[in-house]
C-alpha cells in the first residue's frame, strides 16, 4: 500500500465520528456499516466515493466516539488514506490499528491549496502528497511505531501469536 491514488474529499475542522458514521448505521453487518459513511452530512459522498480516494480535513479529525464502525465504514468504502492538520487520538489509534493510513500536513497552510475532487497521489514511503498539477506537499513522517503496525497489516498481527494468524 505504498502509493495511494484517487480524488480528494475535502472537510473542515472537528469532523466527529457521529458525522463520519451516524449511530443509526451501527451494525455488525458490513453492508449496513459501509452505506452509513457520512450519511447525515451528505449521502451522495458514499455513493460517489471510489477506491483510493483520499479524505482531507483540518484540525481534530475523528473526535468523539471510540466506535470503530467509523473506521470500518471508511475502510469498507476503500478510502486510501486520511490527511489532516491533526487527528483526535482514539480515531488515530483505531485507524492505525486497522491499517488505514492517517498522515498530518507538515505545513498547515498547504491544506488551503487543495481542492475538492482534485486527483492526488499519496506516497507513504516518503510521506508526500503530489497533486495532479505536480505540486509536492510534504506530510509528517508517521514514526517507526506506526510504520511497524502498517507493515504488520494491523495491530492484531502484533499479538504474540499474530504471525500465525491469517492476514
Amino acid at each position: 500500500m505504498n502509493e495511494i491514488s484517487g480524488r480528494i474529499w475535502l472537510f473542515g475542522d472537528d469532523v466527529n465520528t457521529d458525522v463520519i458514521h451516524p449511530p443509526a448505521f451501527y451494525s455488525l453487518d458490513p453492508d449496513k456499516v459501509r452505506r452509513g459513511l457520512f450519511h447525515g452530512y451528505d449521502p451522495k459522498i458514499q455513493q460517489e466515493i471510489r477506491p483510493g480516494d483520499v479524505l482531507v480535513a483540518g484540525r481534530n479529525f475523528g473526535c468523539g466516539s471510540s466506535r470503530e464502525t467509523s473506521v470500518r465504514a471508511i475502510k469498507l468504502n476503500h478510502v486510501g488514506a486520511v490527511l489532516a492538520v491533526d487527528f483526535a487520538r482514539i480515531f488515530f489509534r483505531n485507524a492505525t490499528n486497522n491499517g488505514l493510513p492517517c498522515l498530518t500536513f507538515t505545513r498547515q497552510e498547504d491544506l488551503l491549496s487543495l481542492r475538492q475532487g482534485q486527483h492526488v497521489t499519496v506516497n507513504l514511503e516518503d510521506a508526500t502528497l503530489v497533486t495532479e498539477d505536480g505540486v509536492r506537499i510534504p506530510l509528517d513522517q508517521p514514526g517507526a511505531f506506526v510504520r511497524r503496525i502498517w507493515a504488520a497489516g494491523g495491530l492484531l498481527s502484533l499479538l504474540p501469536n499474530g504471525s500465525d494468524a491469517a492476514r
Binding site: D14, V19, P23, L28, S66, A88, N97, G143, L156, L159
Partner: protein, 422 residues
Amino acid sequence: MAGRTISDKVIDAHSADDDGTAAYRLVRVDAVLGHDATTALLIDDFERRGLTIWDRDRVLLTNDHFSPPSTIEYADISNKFLRFARDNQVTNLMLDRGICHQLLVEHRLCQPGGLVVGADSHTVMGGGIGTCATGMGATDILFTLVTGTTWLRRPETIAVRFHGELPPTSSGRDIVLELLRLLGESGAQYRCLEFHDESRPKLSQDDRFAVANMAVELGAKFGVFVPDEVTADYCVRRDGELLATPVLPDADAVYERVLDIDLSALDARIARPYSPGNVVPVSEVESVSISTAFLGSCSSGRLEDIRDAAEEVAGRAVHPAVRFIVIPASVEVFKQALRAGYVETLTDAGATFNHSSCGACGGIDKGVLGADDVCVSTSNRNFRGRMGHWDSRTYLASARTVARAALLGRIGPDLYRNEGAR
C-alpha cells in the same frame, strides 16, 4: 530528575518495557472495561484467532447501549456479547446494571493511581477518583484483553486549578462546559488534564465525575483529579477501606500549561448545537422552545444531578409540550434516588424514568430525536445527528438547567434571573 505529574508516575509505575525515553511505552493495565456495542465488534476476530483473556478477574463488561434491546438486530448483538462474556467466564459481567463508566467507578477495580482502558471514549471518567483511565477502540481493547498491555504515548499535562466557591446553582457540568468554552474541542488534544481542587468547600465526587467524563470532549487522553480527602471518603465508603496508595504529582511537576479557574464567578453554562465547545453563559443563550429534556448519561445521571432536578420540579409540573426523560446512570444510583424520594418527586412533576442505560445519548436506543426535536440534555455530545435525526438540535447543560427548561418549555437567558426570589 524533573518533577513528575500524575500521569507520568502512573505510566512509569505500569511500564512493561525498560525504555523510559521511548515515545511509546508498553504498559500493563489494571483493568479493562467494555460494553455491548464496542465489545461486539471484536468478538469475531477474538474467536477466529482462538484467543483467551489474560485475566478474567480484571475485566468488567456490561450491556448498556442496548439495555434492554429495542430491535431484533440489537438483541442479536446483545446476545452475542453476553455469550462471549459467559464463554470466557468474565468475572464481572453485569447484566442491565447501568452505564459501564458508572459501574466502573462503583467497582474496586477502579483505584486512584490505577491504569484502566475501556472500549468507550468516556472511560476517562475514572479520572474523577485519580485513576488514569482512557478510551480506545475495539482493536486496541482486543489486544489488551489478550495481553494485559497496551501502548501509550506519554502525554504532556495541563494543570487546571479550581479556586473559590462554586455557586449553589452551578455544578460540575457548568465547570467542564466552561473549560470547553475556554479551550475548545481540541484544547487538550493528546494531553492529560490534571485537576487540582483548591476550591472551598471542595467539589463533590459527583461534580468531579462530571468534569472528568467530558475531558475527552476537550481531546484529552486522561482527565485526572489529584486524589484528596473527597477521593479517600468515596473509596472507603465503596471498598470498606483504602486499598490503594494515592498517586500525587510532585510539587515541581512539569506542566505544559497551568489554568486557574475561579469558580465563584461561574454561573450556568450551555453548549449550543452542534459542538460541545460552542458554550455560552445561559444568561446569553437565545430563547428556544424545547420538545425534549434529557437527564441522564455517564456524564451527569448521578444522584446529585437527580437531586438538583427534583429540587427544581418539586410541586410543579413539566411543561405539557416537553417530554422529560430521566435515566439514572446505574441501578445503584436509581435505588439511592428512590430512597431519597427524588423519583417520586420527578414522576409527580411529569418526568419519565427509563431503565439505567445510555438511552438516547448515543442515538441508538429508546428516546432518540426526530427531525423537529429540540433537546436540552445532560449528556456529553451535541454533535449533529448524534442523538437521532440530522436536523434535530441538542443543547448541553446541567441537570438543574435541564429541569428548569423542562418546566418552562424552553431555554432562554432568563432561566436563572431573579435567583434571589426563588
